[in-house]
C-alpha cells in the first residue's frame, strides 16, 4: 500500500489528529527508554479506543504492514523500538478505567492507564495494585503486561503475570479474543493468558485488562541498614530469607550508588559500603516480631547503622532514594547503561566479585542496585559517550556481566525484557530447539509475524502458512528469515 493511501486509511479510522506522519514528529517515537537503538517508524497512530486498535491492526494485517505497540515508552530493552516501514501504535490515549469490582478484588482498565493510577483509584477502598516497577508513575499497564514487569515488592506479592487475571486481546489478524477468566477462576483450556503476559508485544495487543487488587496491609515497617560492604549486606539478606521471613521488599545499593543518590536527591543516606532497604508488611503482631528479628540479623551481620522509618514520610524518603537510583547516575557519569540480570540468591557473593573484576578489567565503573531478595541485579555501567570506543566497551562489559549471571545458573533478564537489546544473547540461555518451540506459540498467534517483528528471538522463523494476505513475507523477501 502506498504511504499516502495508508495515511488516508488511518485518518479514516482516527481522524487527522490521530495520525502522525511528518518526519520531525515521527522522530519523537524513534526509541523507547533504551536510547542506544533508534528507528524512525513509517507512521505513528494514536488510537483512543479498543475498537480503534482493532481496526488499525486489521488494516495492517490486510495490507501486510508490520506494527509495534507502545505504551509510555519507558521500556529498557528496546521492546517498543519501531520497525522500519511499520506502524507504531501508541496506546497512551486508550486510558480509561472501565470497572472497579471491589467485592471480587478486580479492576478493569485500558492499556494506556498508568500503573500508579490503579492504586490511586482504589486507595479509598483499602486496596492497591501490587506490582510497582520504579517507572510506575509513568509506565502503562499495557506495557507492564507486555514486559511482565516486576518491581520492588514482587518478592512477596509476585510479578505482573500473577496479577493479570484476564485480557481482551486484538490478535495480529485483527480479530478479538478474551483470555483468562477475569473475575472467575480456572478458565478451561490452555493458559493462553499466562503465555501472553510477558510476550513483549509479539502475540497481539491487550485492549482491556483485568487486574487483581490487593488489600492494603494492616502494618508496614521499613528500615534502612548500612554495612561496611556488600558482603555484610548480602549476609543479612541470606540470614533473613534463611529464617523463613518473606519481606515485602529487600533492596540493596552499593557505595557508588549511594554516592550518586545522595548527590541527586539528598536523602541523607549513611556513608557506607552498602545499604539495604527492608520492608515488612502484614498483620501487626506478625510484622512486629519479624521486624525485630530482621534488625537482629542485620546487627549479627555487623550493620554499622540501622534507621527505622518512623512514619510514612520517612518511609517515602527511603523509597525515593531507592527509586531514584537509575536516574541519579547522571550525577556521577555522563552516560550509563542499565543492566538487568538474575542469579540464584546464594550466588550473590561470587557474582559481585566477578562484576568487580570485570569493572577493573574494562576500566569502567559499575554501580550496583539489586532486588536482593529475588536475586535480580541491576548493575549500572558508567561511561562517557564522548570518549572514543567507551560506549562499545560499556556494552561489552554489560554483556559479560549478564553472561556471569548465566554461568551461575541465572537469567538474561528479570524484568526489563529481551526486546531488541538482548535477542543476540538468547542462544546463551536457550538452545535452537528451545527457541523454535517457543516460536510455535508465535506461529499460532501471529503466523505472518507482523506484531512487533524482530524482537526476542535472534532468528525469526516463518510458520509454514500458506500465503494468505501475502505472497511472500517481507522479512523473507529481504532474506532476513528462513521458512520454518
Amino acid at each position: 500500500m502506498e504511504r499516502s493511501r495508508l495515511i488516508r486509511a488511518m485518518e479514516g479510522i482516527l481522524g487527522a489528529e490521530g495520525v502522525i506522519h511528518e518526519h520531525e514528529q515521527l522522530r519523537t517515537y524513534e526509541c523507547d527508554g533504551l536510547m542506544n537503538y533508534r528507528v524512525i517508524p513509517d507512521l505513528v497512530v494514536l488510537p483512543e479506543t479498543g475498537e480503534h486498535v482493532q481496526r488499525i491492526v486489521r488494516l495492517c494485517y490486510d495490507e501486510g504492514i508490520p506494527f509495534v505497540a507502545r505504551g509510555s515508552g519507558t521500556g529498557l530493552s528496546g521492546g517498543a523500538l519501531p520497525v522500519k516501514s511499520g506502524v507504531l501504535i501508541v496506546l497512551t490515549r486508550v486510558r480509561k478505567i472501565l470497572e472497579v469490582d471491589i467485592p471480587n478484588q478486580r479492576i478493569v482498565v485500558e492499556p494506556g492507564v498508568v500503573n500508579i493510577w490503579v492504586s490511586q483509584e482504589v486507595a479509598d477502598e483499602g486496596y492497591y495494585y501490587a506490582p510497582d516497577p520504579a517507572s510506575q508513575i509513568v509506565s502503562s499497564i499495557g506495557g507492564n503486561l507486555a514486559e511482565n514487569s516486576g518491581g520492588v515488592h514482587c518478592l512477596k506479592y509476585g510479578f505482573t503475570t500473577n496479577h493479570v487475571m484476564g485480557a481482551e486481546v486484538v490478535l495480529p489478524d485483527g480479530s478479538v479474543t478474551h483470555l483468562g477468566g477475569g473475575r472467575t477462576p480456572d478458565a478451561p483450556g490452555y493458559d493462553l493468558l499466562g503465555a501472553f503476559v510477558g510476550s513483549e508485544g509479539t502475540l497481539g495487543i491487550a485492549t482491556r485488562i483485568t487486574l487483581r487488587l490487593v488489600r492494603t496491609p494492616e502494618s508496614v515497617q521499613t528500615l534502612l541498614a548500612a554495612f561496611e560492604d556488600t558482603e555484610g549486606a548480602g549476609g543479612a539478606v541470606s540470614g533473613i530469607i534463611g529464617e523463613g521471613i518473606i519481606p515485602a521488599a529487600i533492596e540493596m545499593m552499593d557505595q557508588l550508588t549511594i554516592e550518586a543518590v545522595e548527590a541527586a536527591v539528598h536523602p541523607g543516606l549513611p556513608d557506607a559500603g552498602a545499604v539495604l532497604v527492608i520492608e515488612l508488611d502484614g498483620p501487626e503482631a506478625e510484622v512486629e516480631e519479624q521486624f525485630g528479628r530482621v534488625m537482629e540479623i542485620c546487627e549479627e551481620n555487623e550493620a554499622t547503622e540501622i534507621r527505622v522509618a518512623e512514619d510514612d514520610a520517612e518511609r517515602a524518603l527511603f523509597w525515593k532514594a531507592r527509586k531514584a537510583a537509575f536516574g541519579a547516575m547522571g550525577r556521577i557519569s555522563n552516560d550509563y547503561y542499565v543492566q538487568d540480570g538474575v542469579i540464584p540468591r546464594t550466588e550473590l557473593p561470587s557474582v559481585l566479585k566477578r562484576i568487580s573484576e570485570l569493572s577493573e578489567e574494562y576500566k569502567l565503573r559499575v554501580a550496583n542496585v539489586f532486588h536482593a531478595g529475588d536475586g535480580n541485579l541491576h548493575p549500572l555501567v558508567l561511561y562517557n559517550n564522548a570518549t572514543e570506543g567507551e560506549a562499545e566497551r560499556a556494552e561489552e562489559l554489560a554483556g559479560e556481566i549478564v553472561f556471569a549471571c548465566l554461568d551461575h545458573g541465572g537469567s538474561l533478564t528479570g524484568e526489563h525484557g529481551i526486546g531488541h537489546d538482548k535477542k543476540k544473547y538468547m542462544p546463551k540461555m536457550f538452545t535452537d530447539d528451545d527457541m523454535n518451540v517457543m516460536q510455535l506459540l508465535r506461529c499460532a498467534f501471529d503466523p505472518h509475524q507482523i506484531s512487533n517483528p524482530g524482537k526476542i528471538f535472534p532468528t525469526p522463523r516463518l510458520c509454514g502458512e500458506r500465503p494468505g494476505p501475502f505472497h511472500m513475507h517481507p522479512l523473507q523477501k529481504a532474506g532476513i528469515v528462513e521458512q520454518f
Binding site: V176, G181, G414
Partner: protein, 423 residues
C-alpha cells in the same frame, strides 16, 4: 510401519527390557485400551520414545500417578501409555534459593518430604494422594492454599517438555524472577497431555509456617456463607485458605490461618471477631481440622462431581442455583464444598439419575457461562460425559487453543480428543 513385536523390541532398545509391557484392562482410559505401557527413565529416553511414536504414528498418553486420568473425554485413539514412574529424581533443592528442580514422575509427597527438612514447602495441596508433579501440572490441580499462594502457574518457574516428535525444549529457568523468552511453563499447565510430555519442572518454594490454626463458623444459609467469606477476604488477616462445607445439616466456613508462633493468636482473634456476626465461631482442634478443616481429604464416593468457577462474591447465588436445580429434579441435597475465597465450588451428586444430573449440569452452564464462569465435570460416568461434555465450550479463545494444539502437535498424536473442544 512396524509390527507390534517390532515396536516392542525398539522400545526395549530405548528403555530396557523391563520397562515395556503389554497394557492390561487397568491401563484403559475411559474405556479405551492402549496396547503398550512404556516407562522411560530420562529425558533422552522420553525423546527417543516419542521419535519412535512419531515414526509409527502412535497415539500417546502421558501418565503420572494416574489420580486424574479419568478427567476429560475418552481418547480418540490410544496406543501407548508413557508412564513417568521412573522419572522420579529430585534433581536439585537449594534451600537458600528456595527452589527445587524435579523430574516429572516425582510424587508430591516425596518432594514435600525432601524440602520439609529445610522448613520449606511447595505450596500445592491437591486432595489426591499419589499424584506426581507432572500430573499435577498437566491437570492443573490445586487445593485450599491457592487462596494465598495461587496455583501452579504462580509457582512453576521452569519446565522441560518433549514434543510429539521427540523434540526436547526447555523454558524458564531456576530463578524465581525471569522474563527471558515465552513462558511455556504456564502454557503446559493444565494442558492435559495434549501438547507434549512434561519431563522436568522447577518450582519456587515457600517457608513452612511454624504455626497454624483453623477457625470455623457455622452458618445458617448461603447469604451468611458468602458474607462470612467476604469478611475474611476483605480483611487484613492474610488468611491462607477460606473453605466451605455446605451440607444439608452442617454448613461450615473454615479459615486456615498460618503465621509465626508470636503472630498466630492475633490472627485467630481477628478472624474470630470478624466471623462471629455470621454464626457460632470456634477454633478447631487438630482432630476436627483433619476431618472438617480446609485440608481434609474429600469423600470420593460421589458418582458425579462438578466444578464451578464463578466470581467469589457470587457465592450465595451459586449455592442457591445448585440447590434449586437439584431440588427441581428430585435430587438429594448435593455434597457441596469449595474454595470460597477464590470462587471454586464443587458439587457432588450421589444419585444415579443421569437425566437429572445432565439437566443440572446444563442449567449450571446456562447460568454461569453467560456470566464468564465455567462448569467442568471432574468426575462422571462416561455416558454422562458423552452427553454433556466434560467442559463447557470455553470462550471465544477456542480457535486460538486449536491453533496452539495444531502447532505443537500437528500429528495429533498427543492424547488426542481428550481436552476442550475435542483437541
Amino acid at each position: 510401519m512396524q509390527t507390534q513385536k517390532g515396536i516392542v523390541e525398539d522400545l526395549q532398545g530405548i528403555v530396557g527390557l523391563d520397562n515395556v509391557r503389554e497394557a492390561t484392562a487397568d491401563d484403559a482410559i475411559e474405556g479405551v485400551e492402549p496396547s503398550l505401557v512404556v516407562e522411560p527413565g530420562s529425558v533422552e529416553e522420553i525423546s527417543a520414545v516419542m521419535k519412535l511414536a512419531a515414526r509409527e504414528d502412535l497415539a500417546v498418553s502421558p501418565r503420572g500417578g494416574g489420580t486424574k486420568i479419568h478427567v476429560g473425554n475418552p481418547p480418540q485413539r490410544l496406543d501407548l501409555i508413557l508412564s513417568t514412574a521412573r522419572m522420579n529424581e529430585i534433581m536439585e533443592h537449594t534451600p537458600g534459593d528456595q527452589i527445587v528442580r524435579v523430574e516429572a514422575g516425582v510424587k508430591l509427597e516425596d518432594l514435600q518430604e525432601q524440602v520439609s527438612g529445610s522448613d520449606q514447602m511447595l505450596v500445592l495441596d491437591p486432595p489426591e494422594s499419589g499424584a506426581t508433579v507432572g500430573g499435577i501440572i498437566a491437570a492443573n490441580s490445586s487445593g485450599p492454599r491457592r487462596y494465598k499462594y495461587g496455583t501452579i502457574r504462580d509457582l512453576i518457574i521452569g519446565i522441560t517438555i518433549v514434543l510429539h516428535d521427540g523434540t526436547v525444549a526447555k523454558a524458564g529457568s531456576k530463578v524465581v524472577k525471569n522474563v527471558a523468552g515465552y513462558d511455556l511453563s504456564k502454557l503446559f499447565t493444565g494442558s492435559l497431555g495434549t501438547l507434549g510430555v512434561i519431563a522436568t519442572a522447577n518450582f519456587r518454594l515457600h517457608p513452612r509456617p511454624a504455626a497454624a490454626r483453623t477457625v470455623a463458623v457455622e452458618v445458617a444459609g448461603s447469604r451468611q456463607a458468602q458474607a462470612a467469606a467476604q469478611a475474611i477476604v476483605h480483611s487484613q488477616v492474610e488468611a491462607t485458605a477460606v473453605e466451605l462445607h455446605y451440607g444439608e445439616d452442617e454448613k461450615i466456613l473454615t479459615v486456615l490461618l498460618e503465621s509465626i508462633p508470636g503472630g498466630i493468636e492475633a490472627k485467630v482473634e481477628t478472624a474470630s471477631f470478624l466471623l462471629k456476626q455470621f454464626g457460632e465461631v470456634r477454633t478447631l482442634s487438630d482432630e476436627e481440622a483433619d476431618h472438617l478443616g480446609p485440608l481434609a481429604p474429600p469423600e470420593v464416593a460421589d458418582e458425579v462431581v462438578l466444578k464451578i468457577g464463578a466470581p467469589p462474591a457470587d457465592l450465595s447465588a451459586v449455592l442457591e442455583s445448585v440447590l434449586g436445580a437439584a431440588e427441581r429434579r428430585g435430587l438429594a441435597h448435593p455434597r457441596i464444598t469449595g474454595h470460597a475465597g477464590t470462587g471454586v465450588t464443587f458439587v457432588g451428586l450421589s444419585s444415579e439419575d443421569e437425566d437429572a444430573a445432565a439437566g443440572l449440569v446444563g442449567e449450571m452452564r446456562e447460568i454461569q457461562v453467560r456470566k464468564g464462569g465455567n462448569v467442568t465435570l471432574q468426575r462422571a460416568p462416561l455416558t454422562l460425559k458423552q452427553r454433556v461434555g466434560t467442559w463447557d465450550n470455553g470462550g471465544d479463545y477456542l480457535g486460538l487453543v486449536r491453533r496452539v494444539k495444531e502447532k505443537f502437535d500437528p500429528r495429533g498424536g498427543m492424547n488426542p480428543g481428550r481436552f476442550l473442544g475435542g483437541i
